[in-house]
Symmetry: C2
Subunit: 223 residues, 2 copies
Amino acid sequence: MPPLERNKRDVAQRILDHATKLFARHGFVGASLRDIAKAVGIRKPSLLYHFPSKDDLRRGVLEQMLAHWNHAVPRILRAATAGPEQFDAIATEALTFFREDPDRARLLLRELLDRPEEVAPLVAMRVQPWSKIVCDYIRKGQEQGRVRADVDPEAYVAQVINLVLCGFATHISISRVLAQAPEEHDPSERLLREMLRVAKSSLFETGPAPAPARARPAIAGGA
Amino acid sequence: MPPLERNKRDVAQRILDHATKLFARHGFVGASLRDIAKAVGIRKPSLLYHFPSKDDLRRGVLEQMLAHWNHAVPRILRAATAGPEQFDAIATEALTFFREDPDRARLLLRELLDRPEEVAPLVAMRVQPWSKIVCDYIRKGQEQGRVRADVDPEAYVAQVINLVLCGFATHISISRVLAQAPEEHDPSERLLREMLRVAKSSLFETGPAPAPARARPAIAGGA
DNA sequence: CCTACCGATCGGTAGG
DNA sequence: CCTACCGATCGGTAGG
């Protein structure tokens, strides 16, 4: 690639990054092209050379985030072979995506609020493949009796998405609601642990709770 | 109250209602005073007579919503004496608040995203009293062995708030993600049921499963 | 990548 | 409650 082309791509990348942050923080209408350009260190018309309109920039930001998600999915699914331990692995992996940058959750939530008709199918398309896999595992787990019979797989996945998305997007605010005791240092740790616990215990037949030692002979479980 | 005063209040009320809807749909910056005034059927300067600035209008909208919430709380807490059946009652009651008008969830979520520092303490103040009560019931339930020992009461309440708030705010979008089978009529029913199930089964020691009848003598509990 | 400029729309005011 | 008007800022263009 010629150095000029490379340079152009770098600038576009920096624009996308700063736009992501400002859209997430102030919303699409709340973040002006001037502000974004200033954050990048260029003038507004220069920004409009890379992205012909504000809406083009918005789509670019959304696409980049979904592309990042696509990149994280294989790593997530590699850990998905069901069972309580694997659940922790897949969950931790999925949480990492938003933990890396909470602006992702905020941006996605804003887009879902601002343009449901446009964004929902876009998200659905990206979610469907791994949602399908997770649902299949849930159903298999139900047949084996590991997973609660009353779980509605698709609806369960939707709830977990809600939990994670909203949890990260508002975790600052919700932390404060929680932090009535000001001596607490990082309430988000507590919130994250409980988020995981809720998702997990509502899925599996029996939680990891210390079973009341009913003196049951150990069973050599099949794979 | 003189008829002129009464008329003024009615107009202010209609302004608040339309502002709530438009703020919820397009966000605070995305909804202009002109649009709101037009929806009410008056001109912009007339609107500014009732609410001196756009920010005054925003605070008015937020206050009205929190006031509505305060009005609903006693009804909710009346159903709160813990136990699996009461859980359904209190949950249904709480859901009614957002079901009456999903714009409430959208508005609150937007405010939490736009102005976390300002809104979080405001919400915390309104949530604290009943959150405290619910947490006490959870702890009592834990002592009695009805509620899972590994539940973190405050964090659990935060997760349920997330679940409900985000669930209603984005239920249109999330429904579409779910509705891969187009023959489904109302996916929101499925989502709501699963939302309730997740909240419930992650709280109680054993789900609504037939308890193994341990023939425990009834205890006349003191206050 | 810039300066200079465009019409449109924003929240808000004057004055009645 | 209105008409008329304000400066500021918006997204976007011309032209280099």
